[in-house]
Protein backbone atom coordinates (compact mmCIF):
# COMPACT_ATOMS: atom_id res chain seq x y z
CA UNK A 1 0.00 0.00 0.00
CA UNK A 2 1.36 3.40 -0.94
CA UNK A 3 1.79 6.10 1.67
CA UNK A 4 -1.42 8.00 2.29
CA UNK A 5 -1.29 11.28 0.42
CA UNK A 6 -2.76 13.93 2.64
CA UNK A 7 -3.66 16.38 -0.09
CA UNK A 8 -5.07 13.93 -2.61
CA UNK A 9 -7.05 11.92 -0.10
CA UNK A 10 -10.74 11.80 -0.77
CA UNK A 11 -12.38 14.12 1.72
CA UNK A 12 -16.08 13.40 2.33
CA UNK A 13 -16.80 16.64 4.16
CA UNK A 14 -15.30 18.75 1.41
CA UNK A 15 -17.08 16.77 -1.30
CA UNK A 16 -20.41 17.22 0.47
CA UNK A 17 -19.68 20.92 0.83
CA UNK A 18 -18.86 21.23 -2.88
CA UNK A 19 -22.06 19.45 -3.90
CA UNK A 20 -24.11 21.60 -1.53
CA UNK A 21 -22.46 24.69 -2.98
CA UNK A 22 -23.28 23.72 -6.57
CA UNK A 23 -26.87 22.82 -5.63
CA UNK A 24 -27.38 26.15 -3.89
CA UNK A 25 -25.95 28.05 -6.88
CA UNK A 26 -27.55 26.33 -9.80
CA UNK A 27 -30.65 24.39 -8.80
CA UNK A 28 -32.83 27.52 -8.48
CA UNK A 29 -31.73 28.53 -11.97
CA UNK A 30 -32.69 25.10 -13.29
CA UNK A 31 -36.31 25.69 -12.23
CA UNK A 32 -36.58 28.35 -14.94
CA UNK A 33 -36.13 26.05 -17.95
CA UNK A 34 -38.06 23.34 -16.09
CA UNK A 35 -41.19 25.46 -15.54
CA UNK A 36 -40.89 27.00 -19.01
CA UNK A 37 -42.02 23.59 -20.21
CA UNK A 38 -44.99 23.48 -17.84
CA UNK A 39 -48.31 23.67 -19.67
CA UNK A 40 -50.05 25.34 -16.69
CA UNK A 41 -49.99 29.05 -15.90
CA UNK A 42 -48.63 28.59 -12.37
CA UNK A 43 -45.27 27.27 -11.31
CA UNK A 44 -45.94 24.45 -8.90
CA UNK A 45 -45.48 20.72 -8.46
CA UNK A 46 -46.82 18.45 -9.77
CA UNK A 47 -46.45 20.09 -13.18
CA UNK A 48 -49.62 20.17 -15.26
CA UNK A 49 -48.00 18.77 -18.40
CA UNK A 50 -45.14 19.26 -20.82
CA UNK A 51 -45.41 21.79 -23.62
CA UNK A 52 -43.27 23.91 -25.93
CA UNK A 53 -46.24 26.23 -26.35
CA UNK A 54 -44.71 29.10 -24.36
CA UNK A 55 -41.72 29.10 -26.64
CA UNK A 56 -44.02 29.19 -29.67
CA UNK A 57 -45.97 32.03 -28.06
CA UNK A 58 -42.78 34.09 -27.77
CA UNK A 59 -42.59 34.34 -31.54
CA UNK A 60 -45.99 35.93 -31.72
CA UNK A 61 -44.99 38.80 -29.45
CA UNK A 62 -43.70 41.77 -31.44
CA UNK A 63 -42.18 43.69 -28.47
CA UNK A 64 -39.90 40.71 -27.70
CA UNK A 65 -38.27 41.09 -31.08
CA UNK A 66 -37.96 44.85 -30.69
CA UNK A 67 -36.30 44.39 -27.31
CA UNK A 68 -34.08 41.63 -28.69
CA UNK A 69 -33.00 43.89 -31.52
CA UNK A 70 -32.24 46.71 -29.07
CA UNK A 71 -30.22 44.38 -26.85
CA UNK A 72 -28.26 43.05 -29.81
CA UNK A 73 -27.49 46.57 -31.03
CA UNK A 74 -26.39 47.73 -27.60
CA UNK A 75 -24.49 44.48 -26.92
CA UNK A 76 -22.55 44.56 -30.18
CA UNK A 77 -21.59 48.24 -29.88
CA UNK A 78 -20.65 47.83 -26.23
CA UNK A 79 -18.56 44.73 -26.97
CA UNK A 80 -16.72 46.52 -29.76
CA UNK A 81 -16.25 49.79 -27.92
CA UNK A 82 -15.15 48.38 -24.57
CA UNK A 83 -12.74 45.92 -26.21
CA UNK A 84 -11.24 48.63 -28.44
CA UNK A 85 -10.80 50.81 -25.36
CA UNK A 86 -9.46 47.94 -23.25
CA UNK A 87 -6.67 46.90 -25.67
CA UNK A 88 -4.53 50.07 -25.29
CA UNK A 89 -5.44 50.23 -21.59
CA UNK A 90 -4.28 46.67 -20.97
CA UNK A 91 -1.14 47.29 -23.05
CA UNK A 92 -0.30 50.35 -21.00
CA UNK A 93 -1.01 48.60 -17.69
CA UNK A 94 1.24 45.67 -18.57
CA UNK A 95 3.99 47.39 -20.56
CA UNK A 96 4.43 51.04 -19.81
CA UNK A 97 6.83 52.19 -17.14
CA UNK A 98 4.07 53.89 -15.23
CA UNK A 99 4.30 55.26 -11.71
CA UNK A 100 1.39 54.00 -9.62
CA UNK A 101 0.52 51.20 -12.02
CA UNK A 102 -1.14 49.09 -9.32
CA UNK A 103 -3.45 51.79 -7.97
CA UNK A 104 -4.42 52.66 -11.54
CA UNK A 105 -5.23 49.02 -12.27
CA UNK A 106 -7.33 48.89 -9.11
CA UNK A 107 -9.11 52.06 -10.08
CA UNK A 108 -9.94 50.73 -13.54
CA UNK A 109 -11.36 47.56 -11.98
CA UNK A 110 -13.54 49.53 -9.55
CA UNK A 111 -16.84 49.18 -11.50
CA UNK A 112 -16.68 45.46 -10.70
CA UNK A 113 -17.30 46.16 -7.02
CA UNK A 114 -19.18 49.48 -7.01
CA UNK A 115 -22.92 48.63 -6.80
CA UNK A 116 -24.64 49.01 -10.16
CA UNK A 117 -27.33 51.01 -8.40
CA UNK A 118 -24.79 53.65 -7.33
CA UNK A 119 -23.22 53.81 -10.76
CA UNK A 120 -26.60 53.93 -12.46
CA UNK A 121 -27.86 56.80 -10.31
CA UNK A 122 -24.57 58.68 -10.70
CA UNK A 123 -24.61 58.36 -14.49
CA UNK A 124 -28.28 59.31 -14.59
CA UNK A 125 -27.55 62.49 -12.62
CA UNK A 126 -24.64 63.45 -14.86
CA UNK A 127 -26.45 62.66 -18.08
CA UNK A 128 -29.61 64.51 -17.16
CA UNK A 129 -27.55 67.50 -15.92
CA UNK A 130 -25.86 67.57 -19.31
CA UNK A 131 -29.27 67.56 -20.92
CA UNK A 132 -28.62 64.41 -22.93
CA UNK A 133 -31.88 62.59 -23.65
CA UNK A 134 -32.02 58.99 -22.39
CA UNK A 135 -31.79 56.46 -25.20
CA UNK A 136 -30.06 53.24 -26.18
CA UNK A 137 -26.89 55.37 -26.50
CA UNK A 138 -26.94 56.25 -22.82
CA UNK A 139 -27.57 52.58 -21.99
CA UNK A 140 -24.57 51.65 -24.10
CA UNK A 141 -22.47 54.25 -22.31
CA UNK A 142 -23.42 52.78 -18.93
CA UNK A 143 -22.66 49.29 -20.22
CA UNK A 144 -19.20 50.33 -21.43
CA UNK A 145 -18.43 51.44 -17.87
CA UNK A 146 -19.58 48.06 -16.56
CA UNK A 147 -17.84 46.05 -19.30
CA UNK A 148 -14.43 47.76 -19.38
CA UNK A 149 -13.10 45.95 -16.27
CA UNK A 150 -14.19 42.61 -17.75
CA UNK A 151 -12.45 43.37 -21.05
CA UNK A 152 -9.28 44.55 -19.29
CA UNK A 153 -9.16 41.59 -16.94
CA UNK A 154 -9.38 39.24 -19.94
CA UNK A 155 -6.75 41.12 -21.97
CA UNK A 156 -4.26 41.94 -19.22
CA UNK A 157 -2.98 38.37 -18.73
CA UNK A 158 -2.68 38.07 -22.51
CA UNK A 159 -0.31 41.02 -22.63
CA UNK A 160 1.54 39.89 -19.53
CA UNK A 161 1.90 36.34 -20.84
CA UNK A 162 3.10 37.55 -24.24
CA UNK A 163 6.78 37.27 -24.99
CA UNK A 164 8.30 40.74 -24.84
CA UNK A 165 11.26 39.81 -26.99
CA UNK A 166 8.87 39.16 -29.92
CA UNK A 167 8.11 42.87 -30.00
CA UNK A 168 11.78 43.68 -29.60
CA UNK A 169 12.57 41.34 -32.47
CA UNK A 170 10.04 43.14 -34.63
CA UNK A 171 11.58 46.51 -33.79
CA UNK A 172 15.02 45.07 -34.43
CA UNK A 173 13.84 43.90 -37.88
CA UNK A 174 12.87 47.46 -38.76
CA UNK A 175 9.19 47.82 -37.82
CA UNK A 176 8.07 50.82 -35.79
CA UNK A 177 5.59 50.67 -32.90
CA UNK A 178 2.48 50.85 -35.07
CA UNK A 179 3.48 48.03 -37.42
CA UNK A 180 4.87 45.97 -34.57
CA UNK A 181 1.48 46.16 -32.87
CA UNK A 182 -0.40 44.98 -35.95
CA UNK A 183 2.11 42.39 -37.16
CA UNK A 184 3.16 40.85 -33.84
CA UNK A 185 1.25 42.03 -30.77
CA UNK A 186 -2.26 41.89 -32.17
CA UNK A 187 -2.06 38.37 -33.68
CA UNK A 188 -0.73 37.12 -30.36
CA UNK A 189 -3.51 38.70 -28.27
CA UNK A 190 -6.25 37.92 -30.82
CA UNK A 191 -7.79 35.04 -28.81
CA UNK A 192 -8.02 37.43 -25.86
CA UNK A 193 -9.70 40.03 -28.05
CA UNK A 194 -12.29 37.47 -29.22
CA UNK A 195 -12.81 36.34 -25.62
CA UNK A 196 -13.28 39.95 -24.54
CA UNK A 197 -15.82 40.62 -27.33
CA UNK A 198 -17.85 37.57 -26.32
CA UNK A 199 -17.75 38.27 -22.60
CA UNK A 200 -18.55 41.98 -22.82
CA UNK A 201 -21.40 41.22 -25.23
CA UNK A 202 -22.84 38.74 -22.74
CA UNK A 203 -22.46 41.11 -19.80
CA UNK A 204 -24.19 43.91 -21.72
CA UNK A 205 -26.90 41.59 -23.03
CA UNK A 206 -27.78 40.44 -19.50
CA UNK A 207 -27.34 43.77 -17.72
CA UNK A 208 -30.44 45.23 -16.05
CA UNK A 209 -29.71 48.00 -13.54
CA UNK A 210 -27.86 50.40 -15.87
CA UNK A 211 -30.51 49.84 -18.52
CA UNK A 212 -33.21 50.49 -15.91
CA UNK A 213 -31.78 53.91 -15.09
CA UNK A 214 -30.45 54.98 -18.44
CA UNK A 215 -32.89 53.72 -21.06
CA UNK A 216 -35.45 55.97 -22.70
CA UNK A 217 -38.44 54.57 -24.56
CA UNK A 218 -36.58 51.66 -26.15
CA UNK A 219 -36.27 48.69 -23.80
CA UNK A 220 -33.53 46.09 -23.78
CA UNK A 221 -34.48 42.45 -23.28
CA UNK A 222 -33.99 42.40 -19.48
CA UNK A 223 -35.98 45.64 -19.28
CA UNK A 224 -38.76 44.05 -21.29
CA UNK A 225 -38.84 41.05 -18.94
CA UNK A 226 -39.02 43.42 -15.97
CA UNK A 227 -41.98 45.32 -17.40
CA UNK A 228 -43.85 42.11 -18.24
CA UNK A 229 -43.44 40.60 -14.76
CA UNK A 230 -46.64 42.33 -13.64
CA UNK A 231 -48.82 40.18 -15.90
CA UNK A 232 -49.24 36.63 -14.57
CA UNK A 233 -50.47 35.30 -17.90
CA UNK A 234 -47.24 36.33 -19.66
CA UNK A 235 -45.00 34.83 -16.96
CA UNK A 236 -44.60 31.34 -18.52
CA UNK A 237 -43.42 32.81 -21.81
CA UNK A 238 -41.00 35.02 -19.87
CA UNK A 239 -39.62 31.83 -18.36
CA UNK A 240 -39.19 30.49 -21.90
CA UNK A 241 -37.40 33.70 -22.90
CA UNK A 242 -35.21 33.57 -19.80
CA UNK A 243 -34.29 29.97 -20.55
CA UNK A 244 -33.14 30.94 -24.01
CA UNK A 245 -31.07 33.85 -22.63
CA UNK A 246 -29.63 31.52 -20.00
CA UNK A 247 -28.47 28.98 -22.58
CA UNK A 248 -27.06 31.66 -24.88
CA UNK A 249 -25.18 33.36 -22.02
CA UNK A 250 -23.70 30.09 -20.77
CA UNK A 251 -22.56 29.23 -24.27
CA UNK A 252 -21.00 32.64 -24.88
CA UNK A 253 -19.18 32.77 -21.54
CA UNK A 254 -17.92 29.23 -22.01
CA UNK A 255 -16.70 30.11 -25.51
CA UNK A 256 -15.10 33.28 -24.17
CA UNK A 257 -13.16 31.42 -21.49
CA UNK A 258 -12.06 28.88 -24.06
CA UNK A 259 -10.69 31.67 -26.28
CA UNK A 260 -9.06 33.36 -23.30
CA UNK A 261 -7.05 30.21 -22.60
CA UNK A 262 -6.36 29.38 -26.25
CA UNK A 263 -2.73 29.33 -27.26
CA UNK A 264 -1.52 30.30 -23.82
CA UNK A 265 0.51 27.12 -23.44
CA UNK A 266 1.91 27.46 -26.97
CA UNK A 267 3.48 30.83 -26.35
CA UNK A 268 5.20 29.63 -23.21
CA UNK A 269 7.36 27.51 -25.49
CA UNK A 270 9.24 30.54 -26.70
CA UNK A 271 8.70 32.95 -23.85
CA UNK A 272 11.47 34.18 -21.62
Amino acid sequence: MAEPQIFNRHNRTLAAYAIGFAVFLYVPILFIPLFSLNSGLYQRFPMDGITLGWYAQLFTRGPVFDALQNSLQVGLSVALLSTVLAVPAAKALSRAVLPGKRPITGFVMLPLVVPGLVFGVALLVVISRLGVPLSLYTVALGHVVVCLPFAISILLPRFEGANRSLEEASADLGENGWWTFWRVTFPNILPGVVASLLLTFTVSFDEFIMAFFLSGTDATLPMYIWTQLRFPQSFPSLLALSSLILVASFALVFLSLWFARMGRTDTSLVSR
Binding site: S165, S170, L173, W179
Partner: protein, 357 residues
Protein backbone atom coordinates in the same frame (compact mmCIF):
# COMPACT_ATOMS: atom_id res chain seq x y z
CA UNK B 1 32.59 49.96 -37.14
CA UNK B 2 31.30 50.29 -33.59
CA UNK B 3 32.71 52.81 -31.22
CA UNK B 4 31.57 52.67 -27.61
CA UNK B 5 32.79 55.69 -25.64
CA UNK B 6 32.59 55.91 -21.85
CA UNK B 7 29.19 54.24 -21.79
CA UNK B 8 27.48 53.93 -18.41
CA UNK B 9 24.06 52.48 -17.69
CA UNK B 10 22.29 52.87 -14.36
CA UNK B 11 19.05 51.21 -13.30
CA UNK B 12 18.09 53.35 -10.34
CA UNK B 13 21.08 53.17 -8.03
CA UNK B 14 22.55 50.07 -9.65
CA UNK B 15 25.24 50.64 -12.24
CA UNK B 16 24.85 47.77 -14.71
CA UNK B 17 27.53 49.09 -17.07
CA UNK B 18 30.34 51.37 -15.88
CA UNK B 19 32.37 53.59 -18.14
CA UNK B 20 32.91 51.07 -20.93
CA UNK B 21 34.93 52.07 -23.98
CA UNK B 22 35.41 49.63 -26.85
CA UNK B 23 36.33 49.80 -30.52
CA UNK B 24 34.90 46.98 -32.61
CA UNK B 25 36.35 46.70 -36.11
CA UNK B 26 34.49 45.98 -39.33
CA UNK B 27 34.29 42.28 -40.15
CA UNK B 28 35.39 41.27 -36.69
CA UNK B 29 33.95 38.49 -34.55
CA UNK B 30 33.86 40.23 -31.21
CA UNK B 31 32.68 38.65 -27.95
CA UNK B 32 31.51 40.11 -24.68
CA UNK B 33 32.41 37.47 -22.11
CA UNK B 34 31.36 37.55 -18.48
CA UNK B 35 29.39 35.88 -15.73
CA UNK B 36 25.71 36.69 -15.31
CA UNK B 37 25.27 40.20 -13.94
CA UNK B 38 28.52 41.41 -15.51
CA UNK B 39 26.66 43.89 -17.72
CA UNK B 40 27.36 42.18 -21.03
CA UNK B 41 23.71 41.77 -22.04
CA UNK B 42 22.87 45.33 -21.00
CA UNK B 43 25.70 46.57 -23.20
CA UNK B 44 24.39 44.53 -26.13
CA UNK B 45 20.87 45.83 -25.58
CA UNK B 46 22.23 49.36 -25.66
CA UNK B 47 23.84 48.60 -29.03
CA UNK B 48 20.48 47.32 -30.30
CA UNK B 49 18.71 50.36 -28.88
CA UNK B 50 16.46 48.55 -26.40
CA UNK B 51 18.11 50.36 -23.51
CA UNK B 52 19.14 54.01 -23.52
CA UNK B 53 22.66 54.89 -22.41
CA UNK B 54 22.79 56.83 -19.13
CA UNK B 55 25.97 58.60 -20.21
CA UNK B 56 28.57 58.19 -22.93
CA UNK B 57 28.00 57.57 -26.62
CA UNK B 58 27.66 54.76 -29.13
CA UNK B 59 28.68 55.35 -32.74
CA UNK B 60 27.89 52.71 -35.35
CA UNK B 61 29.35 53.08 -38.82
CA UNK B 62 30.11 56.76 -38.23
CA UNK B 63 26.59 57.56 -37.02
CA UNK B 64 25.80 58.53 -33.43
CA UNK B 65 23.05 56.30 -32.05
CA UNK B 66 21.62 58.43 -29.21
CA UNK B 67 18.37 59.40 -30.94
CA UNK B 68 18.11 56.43 -33.29
CA UNK B 69 15.31 54.00 -32.29
CA UNK B 70 15.93 50.24 -32.61
CA UNK B 71 14.00 49.93 -35.88
CA UNK B 72 16.28 52.41 -37.62
CA UNK B 73 19.64 51.01 -36.53
CA UNK B 74 21.86 49.29 -39.11
CA UNK B 75 22.09 46.22 -36.90
CA UNK B 76 20.11 43.07 -36.31
CA UNK B 77 19.99 40.72 -33.40
CA UNK B 78 19.61 37.03 -32.65
CA UNK B 79 17.76 36.79 -29.35
CA UNK B 80 18.60 34.44 -26.52
CA UNK B 81 15.27 32.63 -26.85
CA UNK B 82 15.28 33.18 -30.65
CA UNK B 83 11.97 35.15 -30.48
CA UNK B 84 10.58 33.33 -33.52
CA UNK B 85 7.10 34.72 -34.25
CA UNK B 86 4.79 31.87 -33.21
CA UNK B 87 1.93 32.96 -35.47
CA UNK B 88 4.04 32.91 -38.63
CA UNK B 89 5.66 30.06 -40.52
CA UNK B 90 9.37 29.86 -41.25
CA UNK B 91 9.13 31.73 -44.59
CA UNK B 92 7.14 34.60 -43.10
CA UNK B 93 9.48 34.78 -40.14
CA UNK B 94 12.50 35.10 -42.42
CA UNK B 95 10.75 37.60 -44.71
CA UNK B 96 9.46 39.67 -41.78
CA UNK B 97 11.89 42.57 -42.16
CA UNK B 98 11.47 42.80 -45.96
CA UNK B 99 8.05 44.51 -45.85
CA UNK B 100 9.59 47.92 -45.29
CA UNK B 101 12.09 47.61 -48.12
CA UNK B 102 9.47 47.59 -50.91
CA UNK B 103 10.92 44.50 -52.53
CA UNK B 104 8.61 42.83 -55.08
CA UNK B 105 7.11 39.52 -53.88
CA UNK B 106 8.94 37.22 -56.34
CA UNK B 107 12.25 38.78 -55.37
CA UNK B 108 11.35 38.34 -51.68
CA UNK B 109 10.59 34.66 -52.22
CA UNK B 110 13.93 34.29 -53.97
CA UNK B 111 15.76 35.93 -51.06
CA UNK B 112 13.98 33.71 -48.54
CA UNK B 113 14.88 30.60 -50.56
CA UNK B 114 18.49 31.72 -50.64
CA UNK B 115 18.43 32.15 -46.85
CA UNK B 116 16.81 28.75 -46.31
CA UNK B 117 19.69 27.31 -48.32
CA UNK B 118 22.25 29.25 -46.31
CA UNK B 119 20.93 27.89 -43.01
CA UNK B 120 20.60 24.39 -44.53
CA UNK B 121 16.85 24.19 -43.98
CA UNK B 122 15.46 24.07 -47.54
CA UNK B 123 11.87 22.79 -47.60
CA UNK B 124 11.20 23.95 -44.05
CA UNK B 125 9.50 27.17 -45.21
CA UNK B 126 5.96 26.10 -44.34
CA UNK B 127 6.71 24.86 -40.85
CA UNK B 128 5.48 26.65 -37.78
CA UNK B 129 7.74 27.83 -34.99
CA UNK B 130 6.48 25.13 -32.63
CA UNK B 131 7.39 22.45 -35.17
CA UNK B 132 11.07 23.39 -35.04
CA UNK B 133 13.82 22.07 -32.80
CA UNK B 134 16.02 24.45 -30.80
CA UNK B 135 18.81 24.30 -33.37
CA UNK B 136 16.39 24.95 -36.23
CA UNK B 137 14.83 27.94 -34.44
CA UNK B 138 18.34 29.25 -33.92
CA UNK B 139 19.01 29.05 -37.66
CA UNK B 140 15.72 30.71 -38.57
CA UNK B 141 16.53 33.55 -36.16
CA UNK B 142 19.90 33.91 -37.91
CA UNK B 143 18.35 33.90 -41.39
CA UNK B 144 15.69 36.43 -40.32
CA UNK B 145 18.43 38.83 -39.22
CA UNK B 146 20.91 38.16 -42.05
CA UNK B 147 18.39 38.60 -44.89
CA UNK B 148 18.45 42.33 -44.12
CA UNK B 149 22.21 42.41 -44.73
CA UNK B 150 23.00 44.24 -41.51
CA UNK B 151 26.39 45.84 -40.94
CA UNK B 152 26.49 44.32 -37.48
CA UNK B 153 24.86 41.17 -36.15
CA UNK B 154 24.30 41.00 -32.41
CA UNK B 155 24.00 37.57 -30.81
CA UNK B 156 22.69 37.27 -27.25
CA UNK B 157 23.80 33.88 -25.86
CA UNK B 158 22.52 32.27 -29.06
CA UNK B 159 23.72 28.78 -28.21
CA UNK B 160 22.86 28.69 -24.53
CA UNK B 161 19.70 26.61 -24.95
CA UNK B 162 21.28 23.92 -27.12
CA UNK B 163 22.80 20.66 -25.93
CA UNK B 164 26.55 20.28 -26.01
CA UNK B 165 26.96 18.45 -29.32
CA UNK B 166 24.62 20.74 -31.22
CA UNK B 167 26.25 23.73 -29.59
CA UNK B 168 29.68 22.75 -30.85
CA UNK B 169 28.31 22.14 -34.34
CA UNK B 170 26.54 25.51 -34.36
CA UNK B 171 29.69 27.24 -33.11
CA UNK B 172 31.55 26.00 -36.16
CA UNK B 173 28.69 27.00 -38.46
CA UNK B 174 28.52 30.47 -36.94
CA UNK B 175 32.23 31.01 -37.40
CA UNK B 176 32.16 29.83 -41.03
CA UNK B 177 29.10 31.95 -41.77
CA UNK B 178 30.71 35.04 -40.30
CA UNK B 179 33.89 34.50 -42.30
CA UNK B 180 31.90 33.94 -45.50
CA UNK B 181 29.65 37.01 -45.09
CA UNK B 182 32.26 39.31 -43.60
CA UNK B 183 29.66 40.90 -41.30
CA UNK B 184 30.71 42.21 -37.89
CA UNK B 185 29.42 39.82 -35.22
CA UNK B 186 29.07 40.87 -31.60
CA UNK B 187 28.43 37.86 -29.37
CA UNK B 188 27.40 37.85 -25.74
CA UNK B 189 28.30 34.70 -23.85
CA UNK B 190 29.16 33.41 -20.40
CA UNK B 191 30.86 30.37 -21.91
CA UNK B 192 34.61 31.05 -22.08
CA UNK B 193 35.20 28.07 -24.36
CA UNK B 194 32.65 29.43 -26.83
CA UNK B 195 34.23 32.88 -26.75
CA UNK B 196 37.72 31.43 -27.21
CA UNK B 197 36.80 29.22 -30.18
CA UNK B 198 34.66 31.79 -32.03
CA UNK B 199 36.14 35.20 -31.52
CA UNK B 200 38.76 37.37 -33.13
CA UNK B 201 38.77 39.46 -29.99
CA UNK B 202 37.10 39.19 -26.60
CA UNK B 203 36.18 41.78 -24.01
CA UNK B 204 36.03 40.20 -20.56
CA UNK B 205 33.47 41.95 -18.38
CA UNK B 206 33.00 41.87 -14.62
CA UNK B 207 30.75 44.02 -12.42
CA UNK B 208 29.75 46.21 -15.32
CA UNK B 209 33.26 47.09 -16.42
CA UNK B 210 35.53 45.77 -19.16
CA UNK B 211 38.45 44.04 -17.47
CA UNK B 212 40.53 43.18 -20.53
CA UNK B 213 40.18 43.26 -24.30
CA UNK B 214 42.43 40.89 -26.21
CA UNK B 215 42.63 38.04 -28.69
CA UNK B 216 41.80 34.56 -27.33
CA UNK B 217 45.53 33.70 -27.19
CA UNK B 218 46.31 36.99 -25.49
CA UNK B 219 43.66 36.43 -22.84
CA UNK B 220 44.81 32.89 -22.20
CA UNK B 221 48.52 33.52 -22.12
CA UNK B 222 48.69 37.06 -20.81
CA UNK B 223 45.72 37.68 -18.51
CA UNK B 224 46.09 41.10 -16.96
CA UNK B 225 44.56 40.26 -13.63
CA UNK B 226 43.26 37.49 -11.47
CA UNK B 227 39.62 37.86 -12.61
CA UNK B 228 40.52 37.21 -16.23
CA UNK B 229 42.99 34.47 -15.37
CA UNK B 230 40.41 32.67 -13.26
CA UNK B 231 37.65 33.09 -15.85
CA UNK B 232 39.58 31.78 -18.85
CA UNK B 233 40.65 28.14 -18.49
CA UNK B 234 42.00 26.56 -15.32
CA UNK B 235 44.70 28.38 -13.39
CA UNK B 236 46.78 27.69 -10.27
CA UNK B 237 47.13 30.76 -8.07
CA UNK B 238 49.77 31.27 -5.37
CA UNK B 239 50.16 34.16 -2.95
CA UNK B 240 53.58 35.76 -3.33
CA UNK B 241 55.77 38.70 -2.34
CA UNK B 242 58.19 40.49 -4.70
CA UNK B 243 61.92 40.57 -3.70
CA UNK B 244 64.20 42.96 -5.51
CA UNK B 245 67.49 42.58 -3.69
CA UNK B 246 69.93 41.35 -6.29
CA UNK B 247 68.06 39.26 -8.86
CA UNK B 248 64.39 40.10 -9.28
CA UNK B 249 62.73 37.30 -7.40
CA UNK B 250 59.43 36.38 -5.90
CA UNK B 251 58.77 34.55 -2.66
CA UNK B 252 55.91 32.16 -3.42
CA UNK B 253 53.84 30.48 -0.76
CA UNK B 254 54.54 26.74 -0.93
CA UNK B 255 57.08 27.07 -3.76
CA UNK B 256 59.85 29.11 -2.18
CA UNK B 257 61.89 31.73 -4.06
CA UNK B 258 61.53 31.93 -7.82
CA UNK B 259 63.31 33.95 -10.41
CA UNK B 260 61.40 36.51 -12.43
CA UNK B 261 62.14 36.94 -16.13
CA UNK B 262 60.75 40.44 -16.45
CA UNK B 263 57.19 39.44 -15.52
CA UNK B 264 57.18 41.69 -12.46
CA UNK B 265 56.01 44.82 -14.31
CA UNK B 266 58.31 46.97 -12.14
CA UNK B 267 56.54 46.16 -8.88
CA UNK B 268 58.58 47.51 -5.95
CA UNK B 269 60.20 45.35 -3.29
CA UNK B 270 57.80 43.82 -0.78
CA UNK B 271 54.69 44.11 -2.99
CA UNK B 272 52.11 41.40 -2.39
CA UNK B 273 51.30 39.69 -5.67
CA UNK B 274 49.70 36.61 -7.16
CA UNK B 275 51.65 34.01 -9.07
CA UNK B 276 49.66 32.12 -11.68
CA UNK B 277 50.71 28.95 -13.50
CA UNK B 278 48.62 27.10 -16.09
CA UNK B 279 48.17 23.37 -15.39
CA UNK B 280 49.76 22.45 -18.74
CA UNK B 281 52.95 24.34 -17.85
CA UNK B 282 53.69 22.03 -14.93
CA UNK B 283 55.68 18.83 -15.36
CA UNK B 284 55.51 15.75 -13.12
CA UNK B 285 58.53 13.64 -12.13
CA UNK B 286 58.81 10.40 -10.17
CA UNK B 287 62.05 11.42 -8.45
CA UNK B 288 63.61 14.76 -7.60
CA UNK B 289 64.81 16.09 -10.97
CA UNK B 290 67.04 18.80 -9.48
CA UNK B 291 66.99 22.02 -7.46
CA UNK B 292 63.79 24.06 -7.56
CA UNK B 293 61.49 21.07 -7.85
CA UNK B 294 58.60 20.88 -5.37
CA UNK B 295 57.48 17.67 -3.73
CA UNK B 296 53.80 16.83 -3.42
CA UNK B 297 51.28 14.03 -3.01
CA UNK B 298 48.78 13.01 -5.70
CA UNK B 299 45.33 13.66 -4.30
CA UNK B 300 42.98 12.97 -7.18
CA UNK B 301 42.99 12.04 -10.85
CA UNK B 302 40.46 13.41 -13.33
CA UNK B 303 40.12 11.72 -16.70
CA UNK B 304 38.88 14.26 -19.28
CA UNK B 305 38.96 12.29 -22.52
CA UNK B 306 41.81 13.73 -24.58
CA UNK B 307 43.70 14.79 -21.48
CA UNK B 308 43.74 14.28 -17.76
CA UNK B 309 44.07 16.51 -14.74
CA UNK B 310 46.07 15.52 -11.64
CA UNK B 311 45.54 17.33 -8.38
CA UNK B 312 48.71 17.40 -6.31
CA UNK B 313 48.76 18.54 -2.68
CA UNK B 314 51.91 20.44 -1.71
CA UNK B 315 52.98 21.54 1.78
CA UNK B 316 52.03 25.09 2.84
CA UNK B 317 48.99 25.26 0.56
CA UNK B 318 45.37 24.35 1.20
CA UNK B 319 44.18 23.90 -2.41
CA UNK B 320 45.94 21.22 -4.45
CA UNK B 321 47.83 22.21 -7.59
CA UNK B 322 46.23 21.18 -10.91
CA UNK B 323 48.56 19.55 -13.45
CA UNK B 324 47.32 18.85 -16.98
CA UNK B 325 48.65 15.96 -19.03
CA UNK B 326 47.90 15.75 -22.74
CA UNK B 327 46.97 12.36 -24.20
CA UNK B 328 47.21 9.10 -22.29
CA UNK B 329 50.63 10.00 -20.77
CA UNK B 330 53.67 7.75 -20.42
CA UNK B 331 54.15 4.68 -18.22
CA UNK B 332 54.96 6.83 -15.20
CA UNK B 333 51.77 8.89 -15.57
CA UNK B 334 49.57 5.84 -15.99
CA UNK B 335 51.13 4.24 -12.90
CA UNK B 336 50.11 7.19 -10.72
CA UNK B 337 47.47 6.76 -8.05
CA UNK B 338 46.28 8.91 -5.15
CA UNK B 339 48.68 8.98 -2.19
CA UNK B 340 51.80 8.70 -4.35
CA UNK B 341 54.70 11.15 -4.01
CA UNK B 342 55.64 13.20 -7.08
CA UNK B 343 57.89 16.16 -7.96
CA UNK B 344 56.74 19.26 -9.80
CA UNK B 345 58.83 21.50 -12.06
CA UNK B 346 58.08 24.40 -14.43
CA UNK B 347 59.93 26.90 -16.53
CA UNK B 348 60.46 30.35 -15.06
CA UNK B 349 58.80 31.83 -18.18
CA UNK B 350 55.56 29.96 -17.43
CA UNK B 351 55.02 32.01 -14.30
CA UNK B 352 52.61 34.94 -14.53
CA UNK B 353 52.84 37.69 -11.95
CA UNK B 354 49.50 39.41 -11.27
CA UNK B 355 48.21 41.88 -8.72
CA UNK B 356 47.21 40.30 -5.42
CA UNK B 357 43.51 39.87 -5.03
Amino acid sequence: MISIRNVTKSFGRVQAVRDVSLQIRAGEFFSLLGASGSGKTTLLRMLAGFEAVTSGSIVIDGQAMESVPPHNRPINMVFQNYAIFPHLNVRDNIAYGLRRLNIPKPKQAEMVDEMLGLIALPGYGDRRANQLSGGQMQRVALARALILKPKVLLLDEPLGALDKQLREQMQLELRLLQQRLGITFVLVTHDQEEALTLSDRIAVMAQGAVVQVDTPTGLYERPQNRTVAAFIGTMNFFDAVVHRQGMPEVQVQGLGRRRLNGQDGGRPDGTAATVAIRPENLTLHSTQPGPGAVEGVVQAQQYLGGRQMLHVAIPGRTTPVAVAIQGPGDAFISSLSPGQNVWLTWKDDAVLLLDAG
